[in-house]
């Protein structure tokens, strides 16, 4: 079988998603039977230019030169995949979008603000290029990358999980943290795939996988408010890892305007 030529790209990120590729452990030896990493700077000195069959893109677009690189990546890759929260939604680097960029520059580079090139807001890669598939998660789930690679080889659609973390909690027979302990768990609006990791480890989900398909943030915000959370706390809950995703953005705007009207 002909191997797929794969390029790994890094933008504004922690490199945790590409690390997950190495974290296949023994399975990496099998993966290497299927793919040829033609560009993977974290792992190899032997990198070669495109075209590539598959581009795995990690990171948010946060600087002007990255805009050019992601456009070139789109040209070079037959299939382009946003891997992880940063590439999908801007993720944690998009937290800077709450702040005026001048003040951020002054905080970190006082007196040298003009020497640093940065964009006013951090965004997912689809703000600049067409994306073929999205793998949510901070970090991405290893199983979902594998599923994607398999699906591409077999010429079928990847079977990714659009449902909420709650489904996985039920399958694990976890006791519901919202119902039993009145905890402010983001599970009801968060995309599954982690195996309900946080609730299984005794803490409320904090939405590192971003929104599920068609979530209802309003209902959950009302639950949080009834639990006694302040408006600031509720906004924080929905702005950690996927603040730029439309359902959350809209949900927050509506909630804040509803609360201020009262």
């Amino acid at each position: 079988m002909k191997k797929a030529i794969v390029a790994v790209y890094k933008f504004g990120s922690c490199a945790g998603c590409q690390l997950e590729l190495l974290n296949y452990e023994e399975g990496l030896l099998d993966l290497l039977e299927l793919v040829d990493f033609a560009q993977f700077y974290e792992a190899t000195r032997d990198n070669r230019p495109g075209p590539y069959d598959l581009g795995l893109v990690e990171g948010a677009i946060i600087s002007p030169d990255q805009v050019e690189v992601i456009k070139k990546a789109r040209e070079d890759c037959k299939v382009l995949v946003a891997v992880g929260a940063c590439a999908t939604t801007g993720g944690v680097p998009a937290l800077k979008n709450d702040h005026e960029v001048g003040s951020l520059l002054t905080r970190v580079y006082p007196g040298n603000e003009k020497d640093i090139e940065t964009l006013n807001s951090g965004k997912g890669i689809d703000a600049y290029v067409k994306v073929d598939y999205y793998l949510q998660g901070c970090p991405v789930e290893r199983s979902e990358i594998l599923e994607l690679v398999h699906a591409l080889f077999l010429g079928r659609r990847p079977d990714l999980k659009p449902w909420p973390v709650c489904m996985e909690c039920k399958m694990k027979e976890n006791v519901c943290l919202v119902v039993s302990r009145s905890e402010s768990c983001m599970g009801p609006v968060t995309r599954a795939g982690c195996g309900a990791l946080c609730p299984t480890f005794g803490r409320p989900c904090y939405n590192c996988h971003g929104p599920m398909s068609n979530p209802n943030p309003k209902a959950l915000m009302d639950v949080f408010a009834a639990q006694g959370l302040s408006t600031e706390d509720i906004v924080r809950k929905f702005t950690g890892y996927a603040r730029e995703m439309e359902p959350f953005k809209k949900g927050i705007e509506e909630y804040v305007s509803r609360v201020t009207e009262k």
């Binding site: 922690c14 945790g16 997950e20 974290n23 030896l29 000195r45 032997d46 946080c198 904090y206 924080r236």
Partner: protein, 430 residues
């Protein structure tokens, strides 16, 4: 002297070492070196990784989300950022960890270190010494060595998952302790796994000790945490080979930073002195006596001698640490009796500081929080920020020793010096 270099010298040939995207390190950086007849006219470690502004956007976030967010500075050492963040926030709010929490946090750090050390040695640094571009290139001729590397790395990750849920951005570490505790039985059940990699760790130490390193010495100041009789990871004072001995809260009194136009990572130096090195080599140099007996014995039998001031010796230091940390994990897994404890947090206003040893060296977090535990000020200095200036100064000394080599080899050796520092450029800029 080679014919080529004689020609170079005679003609005062221009030479350019330009690696725009250094491979097999964390994050994005370049080296740009121009010389003429062996005399350097420009030398830059160009850290072009763009800033994400953690210190800016952490302001306004709450204590219960800050460790998870600051962990996102770095995927491979997220555990270290989480722990340092937690310690600094606990310091700010006057929270003291229980003895059990201290031990479990150490065990979590050991899992992360074991994975990190294996990745650094086998994936990032060693392939150069086998003249391979990557660990993938080692598979055809050295499959058994690669399998050894994977086993060590996997068990480190599994240990981190046992305590923290997952190795990258673990979930159970919270201010006040753990959201969920492993059972005593689960710790005992893990023992055979970690015991199984002891031999792999010893083999690693012997393999790495036997590798011929470039002959180069840099007598710079070495800085590491110290917490005798422990081999310091999560707490202690910062000590150095020039007599430094300070608690975490004095970090800013002793270390200063400056901006240079070619690096998005700030350059740190010791006030009144100079640049310095952190990481595995300074740790082993300054805390050698506190390594496990087996680690020291095997190091000595393999001909390793510490203190060492050749930065290329860092890979050997990592291998020595690997053995010692496997031993330490075995000790905790075999003896700790876990009892039920719940994190208790009462928020209050305050400022707190912490320094830990991340796999790549001393890591500093400081936070000021208000009475609700919301961050008002954050300051983070990572291992690579601490010593990227020293790396650049080492390159100034090292490059002239490579002038007799063909350009490709000289370039490779310069990259090897960079990788010997095990930089994380993502961390350094954050």
């Amino acid at each position: 002297m080679s014919v080529e270099s004689q020609k170079n010298k005679a003609s005062g040939a221009l030479r350019e070492i330009n690696v725009g995207y250094i491979a097999r390190v964390e994050g994005e950086g370049a080296i740009r070196i121009n010389s003429e007849g062996g005399k350097i006219s420009r030398l830059e470690v160009n850290v072009w990784e763009p800033p994400r502004f953690f210190e800016g956007f952490l302001v306004g976030r709450k204590y219960d989300e800050v460790p998870d967010l600051s962990g996102r500075i770095c995927g491979i050492c997220s555990t270290s950022h989480q722990l340092t963040s937690i310690y600094a926030l606990e310091d700010a709010m006057g929270i003291h960890e229980s003895a059990q929490t201290r031990t479990l946090r150490k065990l979590m750090a050991l899992g992360s270190f074991i994975m990190n050390l294996a990745v650094h040695i086998y994936v990032l640094e060693a392939p150069d010494y086998f003249r391979k571009g990557s660990v993938f290139g080692l598979i055809p001729e050295h499959l058994e060595v690669v399998k050894k590397a994977i086993r060590i790395k996997r068990v480190g990750n599994e240990l981190a998952s046992l305590i923290g849920g997952r190795p990258t951005h673990p979930v159970s570490l919270v201010v006040g302790g753990f959201s969920s505790l492993p059972s005593t039985q689960a710790l005992r059940d893990f023992l055979p796994k970690i015991q199984e990699i002891k031999q792999d760790a010893l083999d690693t130490l012997r393999i790495i000790a036997g590798i011929k390193r470039p002959d180069f010495e840099s007598l710079c100041e070495h800085v590491a945490l110290s917490d005798p009789p422990q081999y310091a990871i999560n707490m202690g004072n910062l000590v150095s080979t020039r007599g430094m001995n300070i608690p975490p809260e004095k970090h800013d009194d002793v270390f200063r930073s400056k901006f240079v136009p070619h690096s998005n990572a700030l350059h740190y130096y010791v006030e009144g002195r100079d640049s310095f090195m952190v990481g595995a080599l300074p740790r082993v140099n300054l805390n050698y006596a506190h390594l496990s007996a087996d680690a020291r014995k095997t190091a000595e039998e393999s001909g390793l001698k510490f203190p060492a001031f050749n930065p290329f010796y860092g890979m050997a230091a990592r291998a020595v640490e690997l053995v010692s940390m496997v031993d330490e994990a075995v000790e905790i897994l075999g003896t700790l009796k876990v009892r039920e404890e719940k994190p208790e947090v009462k928020t209050c206003a305050g400022k707190g500081y912490a320094v830990t040893e991340a796999p790549r060296g001393a890591l500093y977090h400081a936070y000021q929080v208000d009475e609700k535990g919301v961050v008002e000020f954050a300051d983070i200095v990572t291992p690579t920020a601490h010593h990227v200036y020293n790396l650049e100064k080492d390159l100034w000394k090292f490059v002239p020793t490579t002038e007799d080599l063909p350009l490709d080899d000289a370039t490779l050796f310069c990259e090897m010096l960079v990788r010997a520092y095990d930089p994380c450029f993502s961390c350094s800029v954050h």
